[in-house]
């Protein structure tokens, strides 16, 4: 489709562009009450984007001459990004940590990051892949260092920049190898060239896959490219930590699954359900090793943590591992399981981080032992935290359990990689230890008191709202699974 015709299918992104430009204008032109007005403009802009996304017309062509796809798959992820960004923006004025910072610029960067996430979810071209990852990364670097007076925040930002620059450089080298083999940056043309690759080039193909996995692995914090995660998550403002652990990770999965699945698939069509890699590539084994490493390292390092934020950072590495486990097979069922899990992970992880923000606002501490007796002081917040943690562990009757069942069933029904499913199940048991430790400290340690703690009603409301899907989808998950199934339609060149 030509550039002009494409605009009709690009309205949500255009709305975000207009929003970003108007936020820049508002933040320099407004004289007083900037933070609040910019907050309102951001939320209004997100509402407009949501409406435009809902009424976006369907098309079976790619837009901007093969650069971007407008398909149900990308739209599913765009809803995830919208919800995550909206929750973070709503919670931000009630986060004490951000007091004294220029909140109006913070909203601007959040929206800019979200624009990049939208592009990541629908990119079909290696150049757009690189560009969209960079848009997200540069915004995240700034946001991670947003607490200018906090040395830990500065440190996390700098570490993030160095890791980000290195890994995107390595990924760029992998992408250039693909371009060298295919002579095109379009994923479908890359796929067509890789299928007929002569046997002597198979080593180059494996190297290209590994180098690209460095870049994608960095975005989803896959071991051994996870080293930035704990430090960045600990130093960044907690709202940003929550955002980074959910939205860019979902986008990383959306991008990695689509690009790897298409470019390295024996057919360029992801709609047919079955999937096998191009000849001469041990795709499944490579991903399986990374998945096993990611969950094990994430879980075992989480055990030793005493800071709740750092614990959740390591646990988010482990969750990336669980999702990678399904990516080993990469058939339609695996795509569905990962998308289902990401939607649930969005609710439970955001919820757990919001409770951390609540506790930080009220008491200003972060160590697990300081949470002693929190269950008695604020049952309205501690009980949802318990639900989020049980869901993150994967215990019934929470949504996390259903999500994990779908992930494991991918491996079991495929009848391959039994060892990986076993590693996953053992890891879930390990994770029970450190999640249950927080619950124990909250409810069993400390004395019952009559002293009650309340936070701002908006924070309490957000936390309770996020509890609803975590409980509901644990009992009645058909609507979510239906939405996932109807989103399993990918753009293909042949369509």
């Amino acid at each position: 489709m030509s550039n002009f015709d494409s605009l009709a299918y690009f309205l949500p992104e255009l709305a975000l562009t207009v929003l970003i430009v108007s936020l820049v204008l508002a933040s320099v032109l407004l004289k007083s009450d900037r933070d609040r007005i910019v907050w309102i403009i951001s939320l209004a802009g997100l509402a407009v984007t949501a409406v435009l996304l809902a009424i976006q017309p369907a098309t079976d062509q790619s837009i901007f001459m093969g650069a971007l796809a407008v398909d149900p798959y990308s739209r599913f992820f765009k809803w995830i990004f919208l919800v995550a960004t909206a929750v973070i923006i709503i919670a931000s004025p009630y986060t004490k940590q951000l007091d004294g910072s220029q909140r109006h610029e913070y909203y601007l960067f959040l929206i800019a990051v979200m624009f990049g996430l939208f592009l990541m979810a629908s990119s079909l071209d290696l150049i757009i892949v690189y560009l969209s990852i960079e848009i997200v990364s540069i915004g995240s670097f700034i946001l991670a260092g947003f607490l200018k007076d906090d040395p830990r925040s500065n440190e996390s930002s700098l570490k993030y920049v160095i890791y980000g620059a290195l890994s995107s450089g390595v990924m760029l080298y992998g992408l250039s190898l693909l371009f060298g083999m295919a002579g095109s940056t379009n994923v479908f043309e890359v796929q067509a060239a890789l299928v007929v690759l002569p046997e002597k080039a198979h080593l180059t193909l494996a190297v290209a896959l590994l180098l690209i996995l460095v870049g994608f692995g960095y975005k989803i914090s896959m071991v051994p490219f996870h080293f930035w995660t704990p430090d960045v998550y600990e130093g960044a403002p907690t709202t940003i930590t929550a955002y980074l652990s959910v939205a860019p990770k979902a986008a990383g999965f959306a991008l990695a699954l689509r690009i790897l699945g298409t470019a390295f698939g024996s057919t360029g069509d992801l709609n047919i359900g079955d999937w096998s890699p191009v000849p001469g590539l041990a795709f499944g084994s490579v991903i399986a090793i990374f998945a096993a490493l990611t969950m094990t390292v994430g879980n075992f390092l989480a055990i030793q943590q005493n800071s709740v934020k750092r614990l959740l950072a390591y646990s988010s590495i482990a969750h990336a591992g669980y999702m990678l486990m399904a990516a080993v097979i990469l058939n339609g069922q695996a795509f569905g399981a990962i998308m289902f899990y990401l939607a649930i992970y969005l609710c439970m992880n955001l919820g757990a981080f919001l409770v951390t923000i609540f506790v930080h606002n009220r008491f200003g501490y972060d160590e697990i032992d300081d949470w002693k007796g929190f269950g008695f002081q604020a049952p309205l917040i501690a009980v949802p935290m318990g639900i989020f943690l049980f869901s993150l562990t994967g215990l019934p009757p929470t949504a996390g359990f259903i999500g994990k069942v779908y992930l494991f069933s991918v491996l079991i029904e495929a009848g391959q990689y039994w060892w990986l499913a076993l590693v996953g199940i053992l890891n879930s048991v390990v994770s029970l230890y450190y999640y249950a430790r927080i619950i124990k400290v909250m409810f069993l340690d400390g004395e019952p008191t009559d002293e009650t703690v309340t936070g701002h009603p908006v924070m309490t409301g957000l936390i309770l709202m996020l509890t609803v899907p975590v409980l509901l989808f644990g009992i009645y998950w058909t609507p979510l699974m239906g939405a996932v199934q109807s989103s399993l339609k990918f753009f293909t060149q042949g369509m």
Partner: protein, 121 residues
């Protein structure tokens, strides 16, 4: 197969030959007046000797960023101008595209202006 790359070899040789030739020629025919300043290491006019952990004026970075705004504009304007006549025959879309781009850059210009980047004193 390998013969296809022969022109690249020629380019390499030409580049190396030009570089060596130019350097050698100035060495042979150029007059040489040595002063202390001329013999010091080239560091954009800054004295290269001193503590390594010196602080740089933040203005260096600001000028760098402002330069990007004006420079990018020109970089994209040139190719746009080359195809303008051909594309404009099919409709005015190409004009709006560039206007949108310029407006976005203008907002960036407004931002740095209001933030006081141009106030030198």
């Amino acid at each position: 197969m390998i013969g296809d790359y022969l022109p690249i070899l020629f380019v390499f040789l030409l580049a190396a030959g030009f570089a060596l030739g130019a350097l050698g020629l100035t060495h042979v025919v150029g007059p040489r007046i040595k002063t202390r300043v001329k013999l010091s290491a080239y560091e954009s006019g800054v004295d290269p000797v001193g503590p390594t952990h010196s602080r740089l004026n933040v203005r260096y970075f600001l000028i760098g960023l402002v330069f990007i705004i004006f420079d990018l504009e020109v970089v994209f304007l040139y190719p746009w101008a080359v195809i303008f006549r051909e594309q404009a025959a099919q409709g005015p879309f190409i004009l709006y595209e560039m206007l949108f781009f310029l407006v976005v850059l203008l907002v960036g210009y407004l931002y740095i202006w209001r933030k006081g980047v141009f106030e030198w004193e």
